[in-house]
């Protein structure tokens, strides 16, 4: 008899607003924690009935393996996340995961730029947790519309571990569209000089599509490798329905067909993604 995986009913430990419209949800989910890697996501059932029907994909934001706790950082975007926001400590949440293919853990000595845009920065915290013990250094670049939406500066709010961000090894910089914090302009303005100055060996990015596309263009220009985490509408989350299609290129740079964001992604090599216009 094979031992089967299943969705877990994780107890909600905490669920509070940490920035404007952004909430942090801690769950008791030891099995998910054990298996999780940075960049992976969980598929969350927000309603107990059929409305809304589908699960919602949310990146794993933080993991405390010792305690078997994990956190999601989510923006209240629509009906599903609004229902999530109403969950109280003690409630149980149906969570499937960890799912997908995350970031490659960089080799020791590497200098990295981690670029996050808006809520897209959620998985970078977990990545920083995993890098904390490793000899990896570089920059965390966080972009947002304005100060209130900036995620990375609010990361310590996720728990005690300011040191997880390993500020000794990672320099934090912010950019906002309205200039209310850090650089006044897109976060790519912060990335370009680092690439031009050969200050980083690789770039990992997550955030809105436009930002990722701009990051990829810079990486191509400066011939720096990188990885980007994509979002796409999902059905199953496990690779069965083929809903979450992302067009990628093969080794030769020619279109090689659609990959599944939920299995081959959400993290893809920056040079593999074909940024076809969405209709």
């Amino acid at each position: 008899m094979v031992s089967l995986k299943s969705a877990v009913l994780a107890e909600v430990l905490e669920n509070r607003e940490v920035a404007a419209g952004i909430r942090l949800l801690w769950l008791d989910a030891p099995a998910v924690c054990r298996a999780a890697a940075p960049g992976q996501f969980v598929h969350v059932r927000c309603a107990e009935n059929l409305d809304p029907l589908l699960r919602r994909p949310l990146s794993i934001h933080a993991v405390e393996r010792g305690k078997g706790r994990m956190a999601l950082l989510y923006q209240v975007a629509g009906r599903g996340t609004a229902l999530l926001a109403a969950r109280r400590p003690g409630d149980r949440l149906d969570v499937l995961g960890p799912l997908g293919h995350g970031f490659t853990i960089p080799a020791p000595g590497r200098r990295m730029a981690l670029v996050g845009g808006g809520i897209g920065a959620a998985p970078l915290f977990f990545l920083c947790q995993e890098l904390a013990e490793r000899d990896v250094s570089g920059y965390i670049l966080a972009g947002a519309r304005s100060r209130e939406q900036l995620i990375v500066p609010s990361l310590p709010a996720a728990g005690p571990p300011d040191e997880w961000l390993a500020p000794g090894r990672f320099v934090r910089r912010a950019a906002t569209d309205d200039g209310s914090a850090g650089h006044h302009g897109p976060v790519t303005d912060l990335l370009a000089p680092l690439l031009a100055g050969r200050e980083v060996d690789a770039v990992y990015a997550c955030g809105p599509r436009g930002m990722l596309q701009a990051v990829c263009a810079l990486l191509k220009r400066y011939r720096v490798p990188g990885q980007v985490s994509l979002e796409e509408r999902m059905g199953c989350g496990v690779g069965a329905c083929l809903a979450c299609a992302c067009r990628t290129a093969g080794e030769d740079g020619r279109p090689s067909g659609y990959q599944r964001v939920c299995v081959e992604g959400p993290v893809f090599a920056a040079d593999a993604v074909l940024w076809e216009d969405r209709i």
């Binding site: 299943s6 029907l53 509408r233 496990v238 083929l242 299609a245 659609y258 209709i279």
Partner: protein, 295 residues
């Protein structure tokens, strides 16, 4: 079949995707993703959108093609004690015939489900599913080259599903499956454009169950072939609606996305219903809602 529960084509991949969650040996059968002669890239995203108690999908029959299926997917599935039903789709009668002929030579194919009803490919079969003549043509072409049971999958997007069912039966179908998705659409009002890149999509999930039950009911009364019922089955109670309407087996589709173990839960629930109600053989329940005026 060990039990009357199978998976709906396109919702369960080729098996490995759900294998971590579901003991494939327990399924009555698996119906794999629609397979075509050549690999098919499918439609651009977005391919899915949620609707009340349902989803619209427009995958566009993305699949690696029949050769890849035979080389990769089939050997994997043959590890299990599990009848494999291959859902086939084509643009022409000849496509279907060639697919059936190719699969005839592949060991481990328990049956063919002929998809004449996919609404998401422009030439991909919908025309067959809405026209009795065309449907019969496809069925005859497939029957001519296969010894495997041929299940014809019907579309609900027709004035009379009975008419198509009768044509398929007359052309030699061994069983019928219904329903494929309802043709639907959603608008992204923020951007004032269709939500799906493909414009229209196929509606599935609990929302369509009443249409599926009606289709099974009507066809059961008109055609003496076994029916595989599907459309919105989430629980054993839903499966029982289709069975009592006349389905010999049921398929779980969209529900697996919500609950990866949905098919298992339906199997367990049917067993419990039978025990609780002293039903020895599930066939006692098939068509039970027709009473004495049924067939």
């Amino acid at each position: 079949m060990k039990n009357p529960v199978t998976t709906a084509s396109g919702t369960f991949g080729f098996g490995p995707e759900y294998a971590p969650y579901v003991d494939l040996n327990r399924l009555g059968a698996i119906v794999v993703k629609g397979t075509t002669l050549k690999p098919r890239a499918g439609n651009p995203p977005p391919r899915i959108v949620e609707t009340p108690a349902g989803i619209l999908n427009a995958i566009g029959l993305q699949n690696p093609g029949v050769e890849h299926f035979i080389a990769e997917a089939l050997p994997y599935l043959r590890q299990f004690d599990l009848p494999v039903i291959v859902n086939i789709a084509g643009d022409t009668e000849d496509d279907y015939a060639r697919l059936a002929a190719r699969l005839e030579r592949a060991p481990g194919v328990a049956g063919l489900e002929v998809n004449i009803s996919c609404p998401n490919v422009h030439k991909g079969g919908l025309q067959f599913g809405v026209d009795p003549e065309a449907a019969a043509g496809v069925v005859r072409a497939v029957k001519a080259v296969t010894t495997r049971p041929v299940i014809v999958k019907l579309s609900p997007n027709v004035t009379s599903i009975v008419e198509i069912a009768e044509a398929a039966a007359a052309a030699g179908a061994d069983a019928l499956s219904m329903i494929n998705t309802l043709l639907g659409m959603a608008i992204d009002i923020k951007h004032r454009r269709p939500f799906l890149a493909n414009v229209t999509g196929g509606l599935s999930g609990p929302a369509v169950r009443p249409v599926a039950v009606r289709a099974v009911w009507q066809v059961y009364r008109a055609v003496k072939l076994p029916i595989i019922g599907m459309g919105g089955v989430v629980t054993a109670a839903d499966a029982l609606e289709l069975i009592m309407a006349g389905a010999t087996a049921v398929a779980v589709g969209t529900a697996s996305f919500v609950n990866p173990r949905a098919a298992m839960d339906v199997i367990d629930g049917l067993e419990k219903f039978m025990t609780d109600n002293g039903v020895r053989d599930i066939n006692e329940l098939v068509g039970a809602a027709h009473g004495k005026d049924g067939k």
